[in-house]
Symmetry: C2
Subunit: 361 residues, 2 copies
């Protein structure tokens, strides 16, 4: 369980903005970065090496893994065969079990429920009959979600009434799906937890998150979450991380239903990686989520997560990034632009964090 | 005077740790970086492109400059011909005059003195006779320094008595030199100033600096400098920056002689670049010196320099970096390792910043 000395090579699967910010954090600690990606991406700009190849090409993945000291990833849809090919060569952190759970909504729900943690009622949907039956059990409104490859609100449809069932199945392409009961929540929060090789954990202050069109819009710290509930949220994330023998940053999104509810918090979903709702840590904490992830996967001690300032992180989606000049001129704003060539609608192009003196410890 | 949009290419001359930290800051703002260097260096790891070539090769410099949008540099010994070749193609920021002044101690002293700012007594030394005469005028102890290529205490000799003169000239290789009178100072401080294209300036809190073997050892904020003197220090740096029509980060090292002295502050030397004594800004300020330099040379608004925490920056010289594991485990420490392959004695390998709650605003 020795720590990887500076100069070691962190292999990162994926070349998006999360990989980019991980690569920068690795560089700060003196680590080298070798990205593996199926396409050119913004992480290439700040990585010492990169390899372009298919995530299905297990031979190429294995060859790449032989040239790095540890493998991590910036997205949860890494094929399990790729993770296995890498794991045959070098440690993969977080491990394959975290991928397996996080890349299938059904497996994830079953896993979280098996830990005795509260989740929305759910059912497996493979046919019209399944859906009809599930809607009778779970009621409406409900959400039909594909089991795989859903993110940023993609692959999900709201079902207002049983008569919407067939249309909804068509809308998700009749892919294997789950039906989730609607949770009447006050707001969403997320726990950004870090777990090291020895099983020690730290968590950042919990942000409250808002979404627009299914995409994260803002994350704000401090959140209005009562502190006793915040402790419960951290316990939930620790349970999940412990059960996965997790190493690195784990994000757990939770619905806050109300302090007096039987289950005040309901687990929405998890991401086995650094997370958009933790981007404010770049500007508000001495050690951000990206550095703590690199520390953890390098076998280093993880660092405290103390927050120095209050912060509101706002995503720049698509053409929002064209406001860079006004944002650069705002004196309380830390601007981050991801270096993507084309500002397509719905694409995360950057974010900014508005900081202010800390009001709450 | 338009600002360079994200996606523009910042050309940086030099591939050391300062270039590396500039490249990271540029990436955060969505800028591309193209390094030009005469050798592989740690900045290559985090730059989208790099070109290896001689700094004397003005054709290669010009070709490189044509591929970038603005040229800056991380070291002051960029040959003036290289700066001119680049300037024929693209804006060079800071400008060539700053280089001309900063790379020759005689020119620098004359320039600073011409602004009416206090400097140590100095004389041009081209011969034994010059030195004998100068020692009579200036007295001992005094410092004999080569005019060019001195840094980290290199190229300078202390003269305790006139009888040391010939030996001292031998020790500096009989290169063109200056003799500087000894300044009996209490301590050294530095102003890290940023000036934008429109002539607006901001300065970070002034650190007190200590040196070991001529190399910066620590920079600490806040310094004990009385606030009225700190204001004078900033005015001095602003005078220098204004006279050079400077764009970017300028470091001015000053001796604090005493609040009651006729000239409480004496200008020691300047560096037309980001500076080691400003590294603490990475961990103690929302916008660090590196980002503000990139903002300024990109024609962007410069950002406030507010400090969130107290900070002590300590350099890791040579084998010091082998302590990385203990430093990584220290919860109040932000560790930075530069990714240099070999920890040679006297080489700057990294630094760490110890942060604590702010005690003084």
């Amino acid at each position: 369980m020795s720590a990887l000395a500076p100069g070691s090579v962190i292999g990162i699967l994926g070349s998006g903005q999360l990989g980019r910010m991980l690569a920068v954090a690795a560089a700060q600690l003196g680590q080298q970065v070798h990205i593996y990606s199926d396409a050119t991406g913004p992480a290439f700009d700040v990585a010492s090496r990169h390899t372009v190849g298919s995530y299905e090409d297990t031979k190429a993945i294995a060859a790449w893994a032989r040239e790095v000291d540890v493998v991590t990833y910036e997205f949860e849809n890494v094929p399990l065969a790729a993770a296995a090919a890498a794991a045959a060569e070098k440690p993969v952190r977080p491990g394959a079990r975290a991928l397996e759970v996080a890349q299938d909504r059904l497996v994830e729900k079953q896993f979280v429920a098996s830990l005795g943690l509260p989740v929305a009622p759910f059912a497996t949907i493979d046919s019209d009959a399944d859906l009809t039956h599930a809607l009778q059990q779970i009621g409406t409104p409900a959400l039909l979600k594909t089991r795989r490859f859903g993110y940023d609100g993609k692959g999900q449809v709201r079902i207002a009434a049983p008569s919407d069932a067939a249309t909804a199945l068509d809308q998700v392409g009749r892919a294997p799906a789950i039906l989730e009961g609607f949770v009447d929540f006050e707001y969403e929060v997320s726990v950004i937890l870090v777990r090291d090789l020895g099983g020690n954990t730290v968590s950042y202050d919990i942000p409250i998150n808002t979404h627009v069109d299914g995409i994260l819009a803002t994350s704000t710290v401090p959140s209005p979450l009562p502190s006793s509930i915040a402790s419960k949220a951290v316990e939930i994330a620790e349970r999940i991380a412990g059960a996965l023998d997790y190493v690195g940053v784990l994000a757990v999104e939770l619905f806050f239903v109300g302090a007096d509810a039987e289950a005040p918090l309901v687990v929405n979903e998890m991401a086995p990686r650094v997370h958009n709702s933790g981007h404010w840590t770049l500007d508000a904490c001495p050690v951000c989520q990206f550095e703590n992830h690199i520390r953890a996967v390098s076998g280093w001690p993880i660092a405290p997560t103390d927050r120095s300032v209050d912060a509101v992180m706002t995503n720049l989606i698509g053409a929002d990034v064209n406001d860079w000049q006004a944002l650069a001129a705002d004196s309380d704003t830390c601007l981050h632009v991801y270096g993507k060539r084309e500002a397509r609608p719905g694409r995360k192009m950057g974010h900014f964090t508005s900081v202010s003196p800390k009001t709450q410890s």
